[in-house]
């Protein structure tokens, strides 16, 4: 057996420790070791964005990050977005605007949208489309996703 590496990190605000093999991606550890299956695997090579998480605030394809790299990092996954009994405004807007059909890409889109809105609270439609170009959706044609992100920006501005 390959000897595993010990990693200490923070996921969704909670300290987490795990053992992993050097070849394991962050996505594999999140899903298989830690049971955080909200991040989805669509391609395992960084093309579809379904596994997007925030690593120290930056959106990354967790399938392209080795788990051993996240020592000491701050990671946010889709499971960490809603607080108490409340959905995050982006989650709520995705529901109200019917911005999902099958839903497999949805966690990745929401995480990418969060990264954008954290950086730019009032993005143009082009900026939203540019930010989300790394996330593939095959069901919606993107239209309602873009609208949901626009509505999220408005709602988040209203909450400040």
């Amino acid at each position: 057996m390959v000897r595993k590496t010990h990693v200490a990190t923070t996921i969704n605000g909670e300290p987490v420790e795990f053992l992993c093999e050097a070849r394991q991606s962050l996505l594999e550890v999140l899903r298989e070791t830690l049971g955080l299956t909200g991040s989805k695997e669509g391609c395992n090579n960084g093309n579809c964005g379904a596994c997007t998480v925030l690593l120290d605030g930056q959106p990354v394809d967790s399938c392209l990050v080795l788990a051993v790299e996240v020592e000491g990092a701050q990671i946010t996954t889709i499971e960490g977005l809603s607080k108490d009994s409340h959905l995050h405004p982006i989650q709520q807007c995705f529901l109200e605007d019917a911005a999902l059909q099958c839903g497999i890409c949805t966690p990745g889109f929401i995480m990418s949208a969060k990264a954008l809105l954290d950086r730019d609270p009032n993005p143009s439609e082009h900026a939203i489309r540019f930010q989300l170009a790394g996330n593939l959706c095959r069901c919606t044609g993107y239209d309602k996703i873009i609208r949901a992100v626009q509505d999220s920006a408005k709602r988040m501005a209203g909450q400040k």
Binding site: N47, A98, G103
Partner: protein
Amino acid sequence: MTPKSEQKKYKVIGTRPIRHDGADKVTGRAVYGADLRLAGIVHGKILRSPHAHAKVKSIDTSAAEKHPGVLAVVTRADMPNLKDKIADLGEGSVNLAHLGANVLAHDKVLYKGHAVAALAAVNPHVAEEALKLIKVDYEVLPSVTWVMDAMKDDAPLLHNDVFTKSMGKRASKPSNVPTHIHFEKGNIEEGFKAADVIVEREFKTASVHQGYIEPHVSTALWNQDGHVTVWTSTQGAFTARAQTAELLQIPVSQVTVVPCEIGGGFGGKIAVYLEPVAAMLSRKCGRPVKMVMTREDVFEGTGPTPGSFMRVKLGATKDGKLVAGEAWLAYDAGAFPGGVIGPGAMCVFSCYELPHAKVDGYDVLDNKPKTQAYRAPGATQAAFACETVIDELAEKLEIDPLEFRLKNAAKEGTRRVDGPVYPRVGLVETLEAAKNSPHWKSKLEGKHRGRGIASGYWFNIGLKSSVAANVNNDGTVSLIEGSTDIGGTRTSIAMQFAETLGITAEAVHPRVGDTDSVGYTDVTGGSRTTFATGLAAHEVALDIQRQMRERAAILWECDASQVQVEDGAYCHKDKRLTFAELAGQLGHTGGPVVGRATVSPEGASNAFGTHLVDVEVDPDTAKVTILRYTAIQDAGRAIHPSYVEGQMQGGAVQGIGWALNEEYVYSDQGRMENASYLDYRMPTALDVPAIETIIVEVPNPAHPYGVRGVGETPIIAPPAAIANAIYAATGVRMTELPMSPPRLWAAMTKGKQS
């Protein structure tokens, strides 16, 4: 358009409630196939053929079996031998012997990516390592991946037991053409004699993939009591059960299929790939076996929709009346017979009143994965050909292309070339809505820009659906339905139930049942779910309403026939109980109330759409940019308008990808060279503009609320609409898909000096 008074008739239908499974899907809690966790689970992987066509001389699995961590290995030899038997899969049928040979290859591999052997190991990494230890001795054979080459007499033969069937006769020599379809209406020679203008063109389209983001995934447990449970991502749990049972040669009662949340299907998740293999691995190792495809597996081993060669000829009189149409269509089926040529041939002229028509269609074997349905299977290719010729005819006749379509549009009473006569349909209404749309009325200015229009038709099937419901004592209802929910159908079904029963959509708790929990239900496909399973839900609501009247009658000591239902409440004389109040009294009026219904609506509900598109073509790179896009469709009745719009937008963008970009690129050795999302390149958010939608409602006379179904039609028109727009922008008629920059550039510069 629907009159306002008509819309007001409904309290729930036409509103936009939040979908019932929404919170689970935006929080990451929804359990898709790959998210399943079971005690003792192990991981299976499949060894796939590196060759497009080869004899499998031997398979040596001994080294893999000895590898530490490997628990089971299976090859063809472990699977039951299957005789030819046609099984109905709801939307299409399959020869089980072929399905078995697709799931694990027999003596030959027929495409690169064809499954050859499988193993289960303690984790996916060990499984992958061990696959490399399986030794397969191949004898490579010549291959063919282009439909017209495969039809040649000297083409490499895929099967020596396939003979062309044509007009009820079987040829004597084996061939790559399993089926020839022929339809005729009127007298084609007379028809073309009456034509003043005739346009005939040839078209080619590449294979494209459905592209669902979730790879195929199945987990199977062959329990020690002999019962097989399969957790899978499928469009139809019951068809997955039937296929799995047949391939394992066990009774269906020995198999339970639990449908997990499904991450897209579009027709590609009906046939089984992994289920029987995972079950056999589980039988060997006694543990649950999970198998997840890689994206490369998905491209190379599943899906695609046929590549095609088509010749379409249409004639019209100088006053703009179509008089005759002839089509010759060859679609590849991939490695096994049974592609989608049938619907393609039925659809090619389905938008037009055509007195004389003739269609020949050919199902053609070649060394590609067995082709599968993809959203309106076969119709998009055919519409690309027909709608481009229509555009050219209109141009030659100097008639506006929209007016030309209106003048010749199919309507109630029009007979399709394959026989059926349309009931009330809404093509004319979509064309009129297009004509009155802000998009069509706007002026398109600027160089290298053009506007295109095209229409599309899909049958929309009925098939079989079952729904059951349990009334809870707080006035809510748990609804159990057999249709897997790919795009919000839990809600569109629950809304019809709520409307009929007079309760709110939120008071209904819809669940998708497994094959032991709900009655037989066909696949989520054919745009049938909101139509047929919705119809079943409506009937369940009527069943519950009948029982609730009986309960009220017990309370009020009157006859059930004296209990009136007003606005969802139950009334007799001055007594009145809301549904919730009455539900609270079930315990002492006879116990729980359970409703159930099964339906099998006959025939098609016939959905038409018309799309408008403005493009700009870069004169230096031949890249096409979509500037504006409008999708118009007759939904019959939009139950949840947001999800109807979503279907229209999603279909349009899939069609845009098919039109401009997507294709299976094959090497000379028949290997797909772009089996990743990066190289296959589906549209991203940055590639498309907002997709405007106009829902037209011409109620379907065969449904209580007028539903037609909406899922498939929107993919049909885009390639033709875009080709017509490109012509308007450049003067170049594109006859080949995709209209990618290299192809368009070649067409734009043809005959010109570089």
